[in-house]
């Protein structure tokens, strides 16, 4: 329970960061920002598996939806799917390896790609943007930008490991 509260606190912190600080570091003309919440979500998925991953994704996505003032449910859907995908990397023997190495960045990239694909492909339905344009302008940049930010928790974890 304590552990889950810790995850909830981390995710809440990331959501607040996402909604406040992250908008200052947008790039490209399409105002691409990193998705910090997905990094926390992948962490939960690797540690706890598919069910906690998808439930956490749904909850976090719903909070983001509420704060985004866009249409409710889309971020919940994207985060549920990516949380579930991250649960596939839940392996008792490899958890530490995944979390403390650059494999974590790859997993974040995969989950971010899934998350962004679901989100943007739905988001731009009804517009004139082609799927290829959506991928190049939004999905790929957001994925790469998010993957860059996934480096920080890996570095942090490695430093803690060396400190021990």
């Amino acid at each position: 329970m304590k552990e889950y509260l810790k995850y909830a606190a981390i995710l809440l912190g990331l959501i607040i960061l996402q909604k406040t600080f992250v908008s200052f570091i947008d790039v490209t003309e399409f105002r691409i920002t990193p998705d910090l919440v997905i990094i926390g979500l992948v962490y939960v998925g690797i540690k706890k598996g598919k069910i906690p991953g998808s439930i956490t994704g749904f909850a976090a996505g719903l909070v983001l939806d509420i704060f985004s003032f866009s249409f409710i449910g889309l971020m919940a859907l994207a985060k549920t799917v990516s949380g579930f995908v991250s649960g596939f990397f839940n392996n008792e023997q490899k958890i530490e390896r995944y979390l403390n190495s650059y494999i974590f960045i790859i997993i974040v990239s995969i989950c971010s790609l899934v998350n962004n694909s679901v989100y943007y492909l739905f988001y731009f339905q009804g517009t004139n943007l082609l799927p290829a344009d959506i991928f190049i302008r939004y999905i790929l940049p957001t994925t790469v930008y998010t993957a860059l930010f996934a480096v920080f928790p890996v570095l942090f974890a490695r430093r803690r490991r060396f400190a021990r």
Binding site: K50, I55, F58, I72, L74, A76
Partner: protein, 277 residues
């Protein structure tokens, strides 16, 4: 049951995941913006395609309902068809009678046959017109095809007519072509015969028989039937069988000619006959 629960337990992750996805989609569909509308269109298309894919599989309950409904409408349509056929036939008959009514010089009353006997030696028909329609005893009854008989009883709203298939009805007739005279009567066994025609008279099969001017009841010239057989009965007379134009089994509407026999003529003939006797 245990196996099923175990199987569901293995699928627990996917069941929860699916539930969350459905919850997300439900939330999305609560919105009403352009993206959601577009997604709804896609969803409708997808569902329509899927439904179209399995639409060939018959739904037994649906088929039963459809079958029942079709049977009911079949009965309704049959009833309607029967009514339409009836109306069409009635229309044809009435048209034909209307034409006759316009053709004839006599005043007529149109009546519907509401009763009929055709299996006795004295056959009659009952009409739905009577004294209120100025129908009187002795008036001839005809159709557009020919003679039917004459009125023998009248009440306020109904009347009874003797028809040609009645032994008591004897009519002065003649052959239209050769003007040969005779008396037409029913033999009580199924044949209408022209009697009192000498064996030398010019009567051929197919000749048309009409009412004669000698008749004090019927106006002359009303068609009755045609000759089917003209065998010689004995040394003196011919046996002439006549097929009536009117089919008494199917006739439904008739006219009553508002023409009565000439009383003066009848009285004179009566007096003369008494004097001769």
């Amino acid at each position: 049951m245990k196996i099923l629960l175990s199987y569901l337990g293995n699928l627990k992750e996917y069941i929860i995941f699916s539930a969350l996805i459905i919850a997300s989609l439900l939330l999305i569909f609560q919105n009403d913006n352009i993206q959601v509308r577009f997604i709804r269109v896609i969803a409708v298309n997808v569902i329509g395609t899927i439904q179209d894919g399995y639409s060939f599989i018959p739904n037994i309950f649906e088929l039963e309902r459809e079958n029942k409904s079709l049977r009911e409408s079949n009965i309704e349509l049959s009833k309607e068809l029967s009514l339409l056929k009836e109306s069409k036939l009635e229309n044809l008959r009435l048209n034909s009678m209307l034409e006759f009514r316009q053709r004839t010089n006599y005043r007529v009353a149109t009546g519907k046959i509401i009763g009929k006997t055709l299996i006795q030696t004295r056959n009659n028909i009952t009409l739905n017109i009577g004294e209120k329609d100025s129908v009187k005893i002795g008036m001839p009854v005809i159709t557009d095809r020919g003679l039917v008989g004459k009125i023998v009883a009248v009440s306020a709203n109904y009347s009874i007519a003797q028809i040609l298939l009645n032994k008591d009805l004897k009519i002065s007739v003649k052959v239209q072509r050769s003007r040969v005279d005779g008396i037409l009567a029913w033999d009580g066994e199924g044949k209408v015969r022209m009697k009192n025609v000498s064996k030398s008279a010019d009567v051929k099969t197919g000749d048309i028989i009409i009412t004669s001017e000698y008749s004090n009841t019927f106006p002359s010239g009303i068609p009755i039937g045609y000759v089917t057989t003209d065998n010689t009965l004995d040394n003196l007379f011919k046996n002439i069988e006549v097929e009536t134009f009117v089919n008494f089994e199917t006739v439904e509407e008739v006219f009553v000619l508002k023409s009565l026999s000439d009383d003066e003529r009848r009285d004179l003939e009566k007096k003369f006959n008494e004097k001769v006797k």
